[in-house]
Amino acid sequence: MVTHLPDPRIVLDPGDIARALTRIAHEILERNKGADDLVLLGLHTRGVPLAHRIADRIQSVEGAAVAVGELDVTMYRDDLRKQPTRRAHKTVLPAGGIDDKVVVLVDDVLFSGRTIRAALDALADLGRPSAVRLAVLVDRGHRELPIRADHVGKNLPSARSERVSVRLSESDELDEVTIS
């Protein structure tokens, strides 16, 4: 017998995503009092395009380019031994590095907080930022660690069993956040 899952419900459409990212960009600038010493680090995989989009918005507001990088946390995960071997991705830091910079980690969904825990460990091996902040497109709750986001696109109350999917045009043809 085939069980039919309920159809995914769209919670953010392309316009919502664009507005949320614009607001996050402004919040980051306000909090940081400008774009100086700012580094946006996207977490693989969907955090990377989001970091670039936020950087583009900051540039259009401030006129100055913001350093963007990519952070892969695969090797730092606490569930490596519980799953088949995961494929690692590249970590790319901007030319100026992250020492004494304000690093904003960018990810698509904040859930258990374990990915962010891994990211903080990875950062410690890469340098010493003056501050680390966290921006996420969706915060769906159910934290398992004392971690919270500084900038949130949308708070999305969800059941633990529900599935939140973020699709971005860079990798998935369209912009959309769904829950099912």
Binding site: M75, P84, T85, T91, D125, L126
Partner: protein
């Protein structure tokens, strides 16, 4: 894939997966903090029953950079020199709760045999005249980075084929990745039975190095393994060099951008002239740094995930 005993254990897709991870690992070598926590709490033993500098230190550093605890055991200075059998040595070590066993042994098939005795993951770091899979992986990785792809490329492997596990693993690996391979050796160092094998595996053989070099996209020189030679395979070192060495004159026959590989240690002046070893197109040192990245990738793939 539980163990890495032979290149036959890995599919082309798995090889590319290892290469992709290796490319990420390459960046770690440039970092100030060369440490990833992926193998924290895992123990890897390097058991070397044969001399080695680069393979052993490469595996040791690879394990340490991935945060595994790495212990080295060599035949000299271990109970093996008191006459303990390989099986007893291996079982003793594994009774201590080891997760990975990197083994080099002068007997062909030793790694395979060991893998049947223990639960730990076994990685073959060279077994007699049989195979040396991580060497083949790092050679292919180096060439793929240099040439873009191995598909359709012509690779010449030249030298002491009879005693070479590097050649056996490389032929399997390179043909798997779509390269055309020609192996060149004097008749005395051409393995017996290579005819049927070359037909089955799809590679060519030749006795004429000067005929093969101009067409090669990459050339791999093999070490003349004096320690494995009991009889006279060639009249004199000089004669070997004249017939089959990559000399300064032969360097001119090569395409100017064709990478020159050598698994090391090199007998400079015998199978490879200093001019070739140090030429701009030489990939010898690149092989060493690639070797570290590839071994990190192999350890990660075999030891990081859940037990299969």
């Amino acid at each position: 894939m539980k163990h890495l005993l032979s290149i036959n254990d890995v599919s082309p897709a798995q090889i590319q997966e290892i290469f992709e991870t290796a490319a990420d690992m390459h960046d770690v070598q440039k970092r100030e903090v060369k440490k990833l926590p992926a193998l924290r709490g895992r123990t890897v033993i390097n058991m070397f029953f044969e001399d080695s500098t680069r393979t052993r230190s490469s595996f040791e550093i690879a394990g340490k950079w991935l945060s595994a605890d790495v212990i080295n055991i060599s035949a000299k200075g271990s109970s093996a020199s008191k006459g303990e059998s390989l099986r007893d040595t291996v079982l003793t070590v594994c009774a201590m709760g080891v997760d990975g066993l990197v083994i080099r042994h002068p007997a062909s098939g030793a790694a395979q045999q060991v893998s049947e005795w223990v639960d730990a993951v076994v990685i073959n770091a060279g077994d007699g005249m049989h195979e040396h899979p991580t060497q083949a992986l790092l050679d292919a990785y180096t060439l793929q980075r240099r040439l873009g792809t191995l598909e359709g490329k012509h690779v010449a492997i030249i030298g002491d084929l009879t005693h070479s596990r590097v050649f056996r693993s490389n032929v399997l690996c390179l043909t798997k990745l779509g390269a055309h391979v020609t192996v060149v050796a004097p008749p005395t160092l051409m393995p017996s039975g290579i005819g049927p094998w070359s037909k089955e595996a799809g590679f060519a053989t030749s006795y004429d190095i000067d005929d093969v070099l101009p067409d090669a996209d990459a050339v791999m020189m093999l070490r003349v393994q004096k320690e494995r030679m009991s009889g006279g395979y060639f009249p004199s070192a000089r004669e070997y060099t004249v017939g089959y060495g990559l000399t300064r004159d032969r360097l001119r026959l090569l395409k100017p951008d064709a990478p020159i590989c050598h698994p090391g240690p090199m007998n400079r002046g015998l199978e490879i002239a200093a001019d070739a070893a140090d030429a701009a197109q030489s990939a010898v040192l690149e092989q060493v740094s690639s070797g570290l990245a590839v071994r990190m990738a192999v350890l990660y793939h075999l030891l990081a995930g859940e037990e299969s």
